[in-house]
Symmetry: C2
Subunit: 237 residues, 2 copies
């Protein structure tokens, strides 16, 4: 999430999201109110990040932040887990941190960002399992800020753990149509990227060229799961 | 601030800070309690970051976070300003954001991170002037996370604005003794760097070689203003 974004940047972001019928826009708490104002009456959700991008704030702060952004109009919450606690196998702490945010969000869906690029396989599995038990709606791969972003391998592993009980949001380093399609094939049903417009434009172009029903359906499926992220993504894969 | 740091990393950080008699350790909120435990009874301060590293959380969240970390033992607060608001010249918002954190911190000193690398000259001056009026104790150049870190030119400009009324903390991209000394000469009286040990070791080595009172005093002055940061700094200059 671009730290020097201004209100005008958010207004432009929301306009682009509406025009392209994206699933939502993902913004910093500071801009939830403006995004809500811009998107009211549309099907486009306002997604706010919580404890972003380090996840190393206190649970109490995450809970308070969750309540505040929901009051300002956030329809979805993307929270970063306590990564350090997961790495030292303090599962209780990781779980309670998620759980308290999920409870504070009430009927607003919570996506739990496990930051796969900083985790080994065991930690990824544990993160997904804890997220599943916490009542979160989605697990999400990455913040786009720390080391690696979404990979096909990670999404497949995450889908194996959460089965069909949760959504999976892939984010970080998704810069083209090929990567976006691969991640969906691997099990992602939500994609967060700042390159969403380029990807969707590419998908429309392909749609008009390839006269094959299944492929057109796949491209349509891709479009309706796209979020537009106010973020200069730092990660590459 | 390394997002995958564990308790053991913090214990090691505090041990190093004590051994080298650093001014303090700078940690994420999640580790304030542990750092306080490790440093109790020493002269080494526990510095917590607030709204870090984007500054784009709500004022209410920053205030709550400030109260929570102070209750857990933080002796100093390094807050990131609302960078977007500064860039759109919403000085009232920037000021109130700072002011509320300063008030919530009561007698605990607050350093205001203006993130010079994302600002033009006018914005840097405005950021410093607002910080001065807010009652903050220090202005600080950078988070070390977003684009450029501390430069000699920025520190000189900041000193021109805040005169002797505030401290100046230079942080971000300070990787060697040369840079550290230059920033102090430019007007910084606090340095935050993850390479603190290497720099201080270098300063001791110089101290033993150069038998000149003024230089030895300069090196001593350097050592007592060093903070050890739990941070893989992203910025270069």
């Amino acid at each position: 999430m671009n730290p020097d974004a201004t209100r005008n940047d958010i207004i432009r972001l929301c306009k682009e999201a509406k025009e392209n019928k994206f699933r939502g826009v993902c913004v910093n708490p500071l801009f939830v109110e403006e995004a809500h104002k811009q998107l009211e009456g549309t099907k486009c959700s306002v997604i706010s990040v919580i404890g972003f991008p380090l996840g190393a704030s206190l649970t109490g702060t995450k809970v308070e932040e969750t309540r505040l952004v929901i009051n300002l109009g956030a329809n979805e919450i993307d929270m970063v887990i306590a990564i350090g606690a997961l790495k030292e196998h303090d599962y209780k702490k990781v779980y309670e941190d998620m759980k308290e945010v999920v409870e504070a969000a009430e009927d607003i869906p919570v996506k739990v960002i496990i930051e796969t690029g900083l985790l080994n396989k065991t930690e990824k599995i544990a993160g997904c399992e804890l997220a599943r038990r916490s009542g979160a709606a989605f697990v999400k791969t990455s913040t786009g800020y720390n080391t690696k972003g979404a990979t096909v391998e990670d999404v497949m592993l995450m889908r194996t753990v959460v089965k069909d009980e949760m959504g999976i949001k892939a984010a970080g380093g998704i810069r083209n149509l090929e990567k976006a399609l691969a991640l969906m094939m691997a099990g992602a049903n939500r994609l967060g990227c700042s390159a969403s417009i380029a990807i969707v434009t590419g998908s429309f172009k392909m749609s008009s060229m390839i006269k094959h029903v299944q492929i057109q359906q796949n491209l349509k499926k891709l479009r309706i799961c796209m979020e537009l992220v106010q973020l200069p993504c730092r990660t590459t894969n």
